[in-house]
Symmetry: C2
Subunit: 195 residues, 2 copies
DNA sequence: TCCTTATTAGTACGAGTGTACTCATAAAAT
DNA sequence: ATTTTATGAGTACACTCGTACTAATAAGGA
């Protein structure tokens, strides 16, 4: 019957264009016409995929969560090496991860004053929380987490530290030097194995 | 001769209105007309104090830095108690500090894609860095910083942790419960005294 | 009182915004 | 070949935006 269209691929392509726009131009550039131009489609087509601006912004957060989750799920490692790679997925170490983080921060800050967007932002934040909790558990199972430490506290502290390192990475240039972020994270994880 | 006006108080009052607008309505609300209404003055008067939007945004960051600096300088404490209070000035523990932090994050995120605003944002960030370095030094002088630890690394880690805790505090409701933030920070500082 | 200045209200311009249409075209399934 | 649908380009509306004016008013020093 109709002209079939892969709606899912369309929406994803649009959201990916949105992430590029968010990194290049910030929130002010996330307009219907701007994103449509970046995606190479007509504004009316974008409007068919996302009926409102809110739907587009919400899906962007969802896409970021999906992409990070997919990368983490694809890791074929165990123990400390897995933890390292897991946490590295949340730092701006390459262009893709930096783009995701910038977009996440932009939309997250918007959600501070846009109550409609808050649930989606909180969903993403909770996913990061779970990842940090999982990291601590993996370390524990690998015997690299001191029995004298409080897993719940350390998971929260790891989360805070990770956010702080990521923020600092965003501010220190287009593509920040990876080593300071890596070494700080590694040093902190090393410490968790000790008393 | 002329009608005298306290220009400094004017600009400061406008910037304070801007912080209120930033917390309530976000970056989208930081418009000439919106800020003027919040400050209770005419838009043309605001335009006399700040010739461009950029000047207004830049001064907002400056005001935040000045206010935090003033609060820190007013602390009449020593040792660990000083460090505690010093760092608490950078967490959203009451309405004023939350407002400053929200405004700082909003403008900071804007500075990611607005190169004109970056210098001011970096200035503020550097001030926080210095505060964390000073905190470590105070602990050292008070004998509450283990000789086995690396002061520079701990200063950076403290900075990252502080940012992460602050971010988490911003997301967990209008006025987050203070105790989780306080206890995490205190626990971390306690640890620095040990090996 | 006079003179200088700041503030105010109002208007205007060009641009960009979200949203909502129309209409012709291209493509796929029947 | 016909029918069904999504796309593309364009237009429109009512807003808000930053910026730049004008003219009238208010206030304080000489």
């Amino acid at each position: 019957m109709p002209r079939r269209i892969d709606a899912e691929a369309r929406t994803e392509a649009i959201a990916e264009a949105s992430l590029r726009v968010l990194e290049r131009d910030g929130l002010a550039g996330l307009s219907v016409r701007g994103v449509a131009a970046e995606a190479g489609i007509a504004a009316a087509s974008l409007r068919r995929a996302f009926a409102t601006q809110h739907a587009l912004r919400e899906y962007c957060l969802q896409l970021i969560e999906d992409r990070v989750t997919a990368r983490v799920a694809a890791l074929e490692l165990t123990g400390r090496a897995l933890v390292d790679e897991l946490l590295l997925q949340l730092l701006p170490l390459d262009k893709e991860r930096r783009m995701e983080l910038v977009a996440q921060v932009q939309l997250g800050v918007l959600s501070l004053t846009d109550s409609e967007l808050r649930p989606a932002a909180i969903r993403l934040s909770d996913a990061v929380d779970r990842a940090c909790g999982a990291a601590i558990q993996i370390l524990t199972e690998a015997g690299q987490f001191s029995r004298g430490r409080d897993p719940q506290y350390e998971a929260q502290r790891l989360r805070a530290l990770l956010d702080g390192i990521a923020m600092h990475g965003l501010w220190s240039g287009e593509l920040p030097d990876a080593s300071p972020m890596l070494s700080m994270l590694a040093r902190h994880l090393d410490e968790l194995a000790g008393p």
